[in-house]
Symmetry: C2
Subunit: 161 residues, 2 copies
DNA sequence: TCACCTAAGTAGATTTTTGCAACTCAGGTG
DNA sequence: CACCTGAGTTGCAAAAATCTACTTAGGTGA
């Protein structure tokens, strides 16, 4: 009998679930596309994001502003010879750590929505350019197939509510 | 002088970037929250998603329908003793593979938005319950710190456009 | 000096998507 | 036969995204 009183579900509160906290930042239609472009192409400038993504400038302003507020990007002035000062948006350390998220998205898409002429999204070590992959590993360093991995919370019993 | 004519940027087309193809599916404010609940709590029923996420039923209908159309969930009839047939939404293999994405989101959130009382999101092997983590690894099985990994495309030179 | 250029935005009208609340529908129970 | 429950549907209001045009600040060339 699960005659439980509906406790105020704690997973509701974004504060209590790290997945939800991340999604508060990147869970809209544009932010992750902006970060992908920054991570995969090194884009930093307003006009390059705007033209490359075909995003409306007011939306881009809003999203870049939020990313700066969140400490994911920094707005830096720069000056090219013979131009006035302009601004660029560069990833912070926290922003660069979205590379695992980009790799996870790329991995899912490549496997589950394969396409003949699709571009590859590779990852490699910065120092010596060795290829790396995103994978589940045990503390002993053994790779485990994602299909053999569960993220199910064990403190819930089998109550899915 | 980069007097090149603006070639129709190929990364624009979602068809050509696996990250974009994934985001076409999970790049909105609700879909990933639904998948998180399915993966972390094993939720399958309409009312449990609705009440657990505080999502409007019309939005939930729409998102579950899309997930079914995309082959990420399957709508199954079930019957509890003394009830009529009802329906549940269960993850397919493609859907379960979003566990890496959930782990990536959880990893970013836990590291970059740490919070005292936050719930942990762990992953473990299905067969013998050993803990696993999401990590970048070389083909030889060496773990590499995400800050030492780049996902930058090398075929672009340093043109970020 | 002045017309023109560029990058980085703002501003306002329109369209689309969400959110909310109430209602429906189908079958089962007392 | 009145009521219950889960799985939705419908209609309207509110919020967000989109499209387009305009602004701003400084630099260049004539």
């Amino acid at each position: 009998m699960t005659g439980h009183t509906q406790s105020p579900d704690p997973t509701l509160d974004p504060e209590l679930c790290p997945v939800h906290r991340s999604l508060e930042i990147v869970g809209d239609r544009w932010t992750m596309l902006i970060l992908r472009r920054a991570l995969l192409r090194g884009t930093t400038r307003f006009a390059d994001f705007r033209d490359g993504l075909h995003i409306a400038p007011n939306i881009l302003t809003d999203r870049l502003g939020k990313l700066v507020d969140e400490g994911i990007m920094e707005r830096h002035g720069y000056r090219e010879p013979g131009s006035r000062e302009r601004f660029e948006y560069v990833l912070t350390e926290a922003g660069r750590e979205f590379n695992m998220l980009v790799s996870a998205l790329a991995g899912w898409g490549a496997k589950n929505r394969p396409l003949e002429n699709s571009r590859r999204v590779d990852a490699y070590t910065l120092d010596d350019q060795r290829p790396v992959e995103l994978a589940y590993v045990t503390p002993e360093g053994e790779r485990v197939d994602p299909q053999r991995v569960s993220t199910r919370r064990r403190d819930l019993g089998d109550n899915p509510r």
